[in-house]
Symmetry: C2
DNA sequence: TCAATCGATGGTAGCGCTACCATATCTACG
DNA sequence: CGTAGATATGGTAGCGCTACCATCGATTGA
């Protein structure tokens, strides 16, 4: 650690920042006219508007949004909670949310729950203290306390990345269950019969739960047995995908295909094969779910299913804005999914 | 799009949420005592504290943080701008920031500039309207307007991911220049002589600029010629790394090593080699920079340099809190970097 | 000419909370 | 016993802005 003379000027004890009253005085109008000039420019005469803008510029006036929010009883702020930020999956959704809200002058408060519903609840509690106009959550696994809180608050809520039968309010996502079934069906169609499963931990993660249910349902529908020894659950890390695959190949009979219900795990597994010389799909076929960018760069390319990650955020944002604008609750948007065919399965 | 009967109760016209005055009345104390009970519990008698908490619970009272901020003239909010969220590199830094701020009761406002300094400025302007207590920026490439704004505002600022000689205020990062030199030196030590470079666009990205300067400086120091035909710049995408490498191998003489100044590009290049059967490092050695998780999963493992991404955020947060607490400006923290040896170079 | 209408502007009164100072009660000590 | 200090509580006065209503002059039509 070193200390340098900072560029920032050391000045006299901070003179307070200019207020609307200061701007009004300088522009020769009343404070309320300044307020209007900044938020409803069309309602102020052009000549005064110019004078006010000039005065504001000269004084280096910066609007005090906090005071504005208190007076207008509206914060123009939205809160969102995602499981993790460092997974680009949810980061894309946040970029989608941001883009729409930004264009409409809304701020976005972001929390990462680390897959812990209690942490999610804490974030939403903090959002309520900020009097957010709406909340966007990931998934449908919430604490009782959070459900109660949101029901009482009666603010718009959207649950993303899933399609609950009975949403808290609105929902934007796709069927994780159907996606998993579609992929398993694809494997069955290709002639694979001993299809193993690698998924994330199911505790507190409804997306993972739905995917695992889809896997089981499709196997059953195809008349194939479900062997519990071929079902593995492990946290979302490349290494874990590799380990799980390695373990599955030690089973006897070994699976002829592996469906990894998350691309992190699938890519980890595929890279393990590339490292150790296991031929994909000849020795074992591999399929993922998420449509991650890296999957299409591998050889063989990973067969996966992709979701409109960014659009989930953008659509959720639009829905929340509609709700804030008075639209009815209860909308559910299914944005679907798409099978990406690689050579891995 | 479908409509379902929402779980949310349709109720009478929203009764206003409870205020401190309501809680005070119910608990038989004055509003100011309620305020103290919530923010300085130790200054209130235990018996009243219990009564107040009970009353708040019964009324479903939620603190109005906006009113509190206005009255106390302190928002307990920090603003941060990163280039993109969807790159886990910066997401890790944000998680580091969040973790520290959350523990101290601060909120974090997040903006993504998309590598556009004007967008960065817009975000900081929005932060100022929220009267943030501090700002954390990525890099040192800022507009004149932003510099002026921050200088005038005289709030704590930390610039992350770089070590400016003359920071705006504080800085937490490492030397991108030294990291690039270290990697090129490593390649030279290994006996490579025609070392090519793939980097990101240098416009408005001081990290990329420093890395490219480091590459050139180390080549010069080693007495090796700098061939402009072996220097490529391209946006951070796997495909672009692949294309750039492919182009470099068409040069004659072809490079015997390629230094990609970002792991996205390096991994893209390495995967291209795996796909097309180019042997690494025999035909061409490959080195990256960022220490991404995927690099260590490939065969050969990617030689790279890793940075304490999360710690950059955590350290920045602590520094900002210190500054808010009155510490002197001008601190620069060099968190260093570490060479990760793989088989790729 | 006068009432009706409209657009532009201003005065007043809070939004819900906390800082500041004042007050009241209690303990400690010479 | 009186005063100083500590502790607990309350009253008052804003924080900086905007909603609401009032006002005022200008325009319009009968």
């Amino acid at each position: 650690m070193i200390q340098v003379p900072p560029r920032m000027a050391k000045q006299l004890p901070t003179d307070k920042p200019a207020t609307m009253a200061d701007v009004a005085r300088r522009a020769g109008v009343s404070p309320i006219t300044v307020s209007r000039a900044l938020s409803h420019p069309s309602r102020v005469a052009a000549i005064k508007l110019a004078a006010i803008r000039h005065a504001a510029q000269e004084l280096g006036y910066v609007r005090h949004a906090i005071a504005g929010s208190l007076a207008s009883q509206s914060s123009r702020t939205i809160g969102t909670v995602v499981p993790v930020l460092s997974n680009s999956i949810f980061a894309d959704t946040i970029e989608g949310l941001s883009e729409v809200f930004e264009a409409r002058g809304y701020r976005l408060l972001i929390g990462s729950s680390q897959y812990d519903p209690l942490r999610e609840q804490r974030f939403v509690e903090a959002f309520m203290e900020q009097r957010v106009a709406g909340v966007a959550l990931t998934g449908t696994t919430h604490t009782k306390g959070l459900r109660a809180l949101l029901t009482r608050a009666r603010i718009p809520v959207v649950e993303m990345w899933n399609l609950p039968r009975r949403p808290l309010d609105c929902s934007v996502g796709f069927s994780n269950y159907a996606a998993a079934r579609a992929m398993v069906r694809h494997l069955v169609t290709r002639g694979y019969r001993r299809i193993a499963y690698i998924g994330g931990p199911t505790t507190m993660n409804d997306r993972t739960q739905a995917r695992e249910r889809g896997y089981r349902a499709e196997l059953a529908a195809a008349g194939l047995p479900i062997r519990e020894s071929l079902v593995r659950r492990t946290p979302f890390e490349f290494e874990n995908g590799a380990k799980a695959l390695s373990g599955l190949l030690d089973e006897s009979p070994a699976p002829d295909a592996v469906f990894a219900a998350s691309d992190v795990l699938a890519v980890g597994a595929l890279l393990h094969c590339l490292r150790t010389g296991i031929r994909v799909p000849q020795q074992v076929a591999l399929a993922g779910l998420d449509g991650s960018a890296i999957g299409s760069q591998l050889a063989p390319r990973l067969t996966s299913i992709c979701f409109p990650r960014r659009e989930i955020g953008a659509c959720s944002a639009r829905l929340l804005l509609d709700r804030i604008g008075g639209a009815a609750p209860g909308t559910i948007e299914d944005l679907g999914f798409e099978l990406i065919l690689g050579e891995s399965a």
